[in-house]
């Protein structure tokens, strides 16, 4: 199971992983460099979304980037619109609090930047097999260990989601109500978060062990990495290996 990656026949998938990374970073630099509030939103809508449609991943692209954005957007808007220090244009009053235009503007600028950065990276991740990305990075002289850590860390979010649903199932099977009033749901949180955090820590430990084992083997044989050809290179194998190691913790469901 390769988490974010969506296998599709598309010209975007065919691009070299580093080309895609370069485009992602180019878009980000352009958006942030211009320093105009609405530029990131325009780039997201007029560059990233069409590219994702070309790659046939528009659905997952928009859905995932909004899901990443939501918690940031909410906290930014709540905190900045109410507490922006230099705000004096008051839009509305809520008892002792007031919503200030400067704060709303600041929150908007922050939100669209996050949307653009998340979207740009997401597009690369959705269209690039993690193994190819890893192999591509290593071929350009990236330290293999670092490349491995980066690529696998990027896969953590979907893994956590999958793990969370297994944990919810396990606790519901022990009679935990997860649906109903806010209080019921709040109470259900603790039995979910404990195993989730601990499981993820164990996962990281496992990953570092797998990495160590691989480095040792690699040093012993000193094999060169095969090139990223039609079949996936050693990077893919490493990622798949880690996936299997993880499989010992998670049932295939």
């Amino acid at each position: 199971m390769i988490a974010l990656y969506q296998h599709r026949p598309s010209p975007v998938h065919q691009l070299h992983p580093l080309t895609k990374l370069a485009i992602s970073f180019g878009v980000i630099v352009l958006a942030l460099g211009l320093g105009v509030d609405w530029v990131p939103l325009v780039l997201y809508l007029l560059v990233l979304v069409p590219l994702s449609a070309l790659a046939r991943v528009a659905g997952p692209f928009v859905r995932t980037s909004l899901r990443i954005l939501l918690p940031f957007a909410i906290s930014l808007f709540v905190i900045q619109s109410l507490f922006f220090p230099e705000g004096n244009t008051i839009l509305a009053r809520l008892g002792p609090l007031s919503i200030k235009a400067e704060g709303v503007r600041f929150a908007f600028a922050g939100t669209v930047r996050i949307l653009l950065m998340a979207g740009a990276l997401l597009l690369t991740l959705l269209t690039t097999h993690p193994g190819l990305l890893l192999t591509g990075l290593v071929q350009k002289g990236f330290p293999p260990a670092l490349a491995y850590v980066i690529v696998t860390t990027l896969q953590i979010v979907p893994q956590m989601r999958e793990r969370a649903s297994t944990i919810i199932d396990a606790q519901r099977a022990r009679g935990l109500e997860t649906q109903g009033s806010l209080l019921v749901r709040a109470r259900a949180l603790l039995p979910l978060i404990g195993p989730l955090v601990l499981g993820s820590l164990l996962d990281v430990e496992e990953r570092s062990l797998a990495l160590e084992a691989h480095v040792q083997r690699h040093n012993a044989q000193d094999q060169p990495l095969p090139s990223a050809g039609p079949h996936l290179g050693a990077g893919a194998q490493m990622v798949d290996c880690a996936g299997h190691a993880r499989g010992d913790w998670l049932p295939a469901c």
């Binding site: 944990i167 396990a170 606790q171 109500e177 039995p191 404990g194 195993p195 049932p251």
Partner: protein, 270 residues
């Protein structure tokens, strides 16, 4: 004590994989049943229908007089206990005792009853001496028993065990076997999913063999083990002693004593 019934149950995952195809079977109260079959044959999918974690795409699942579609998983938990394969997915309390008490408390039992059930479950799983320890300080094999105890303490008439022996050494397997026997003796229904065919032969009197989402064989051990050809289709190898008996053309046996007796008798006849 309640019976279970699957009535023409089919199930297709959202991804489009059909994992169960028109499965019909009943389990009487107090039976000890094993679900066996190769990877991907549908064992876990079937078991997850028993406590409502999955609902059939067609057909229905009856747990006693309850249709699983009409009850939440949390409600069904009072009837069917499900021990997940990985204890890491459920353990969150700071002591073994509290962890084991979580299920019965959720079911709304009175504190005195909870205390009694916890004590019984800890005894049955031989964890009484570590009741106050942090579950994560225990070895993984023991942690698995904590997960087992936490479900046994819910006092459900039906208990489902998903791969109870993985990660256990010979001693651990024996300990789990003893627990299963004790639960059987208490009259509860046990459904074991396992790749450990020796464990199934020892502790389950009825075997249900799945392959490609269908029931290939269903019956007492001796009938099922006699169908080597069908077992092969779903990559199940009968226990060693059964294969030995087959090679020697002796009556089927999966325990040393009956096999030796049969061997002696055939020698005498010769």
């Amino acid at each position: 004590m309640i019976p279970l019934a699957l009535e023409e149950v089919s199930f297709t995952y959202p991804s489009g994989v059909t994992a169960l195809r028109e499965i019909s079977l009943t389990v009487a109260p107090g039976e000890s049943v094993a679900l066996i079959g190769q990877n991907g044959s549908g064992k876990t999918t079937l078991a997850r229908h028993l406590n409502g974690l999955l609902q059939p795409s067609s057909g229905r699942v009856m747990i006693g007089d309850w249709d699983t579609r009409q009850h939440t998983v949390a409600k069904l938990a009072a009837r069917v206990g499900y021990v997940f394969q990985h204890p890491e997915h459920q353990i969150f309390k700071r002591s073994v005792q509290d962890e084991v008490a979580f299920g019965p408390r959720n079911l709304g039992f009175a504190p005195a009853r909870v205390a009694q059930l916890v004590e019984q479950a800890l005894q049955a799983t031989q964890l009484s001496t570590v009741a106050d320890q942090h579950p994560h300080d225990l070895l993984p094999a023991l942690r698995k028993r904590v997960a087992l105890a936490s479900v046994l303490a819910m006092d459900t008439p039906v208990v489902v065990l998903d791969e109870p022996t993985t990660g256990q050494d010979a001693q651990g397997v024996r300990a789990i076997g003893e627990i299963v026997e004790r639960v059987r003796a208490g009259g509860r229904t046990i459904i074991t999913i396992s790749h450990d065919i020796d464990f199934c032969a020892d502790h389950c009197s009825r075997l249900i063999v799945l392959g490609g989402g269908r029931v290939l064989l269903d019956g007492p051990r001796e009938t099922v083990f006699a169908h080597g050809d069908i077992l092969e289709q779903t990559a199940v190898e009968p226990p060693q002693l059964v294969r030995l008996a087959q090679r020697l053309r002796l009556p089927l046996a999966w325990e040393p004593q009956p096999l030796l007796a049969a061997l002696e008798q055939s020698q005498r006849q010769r």
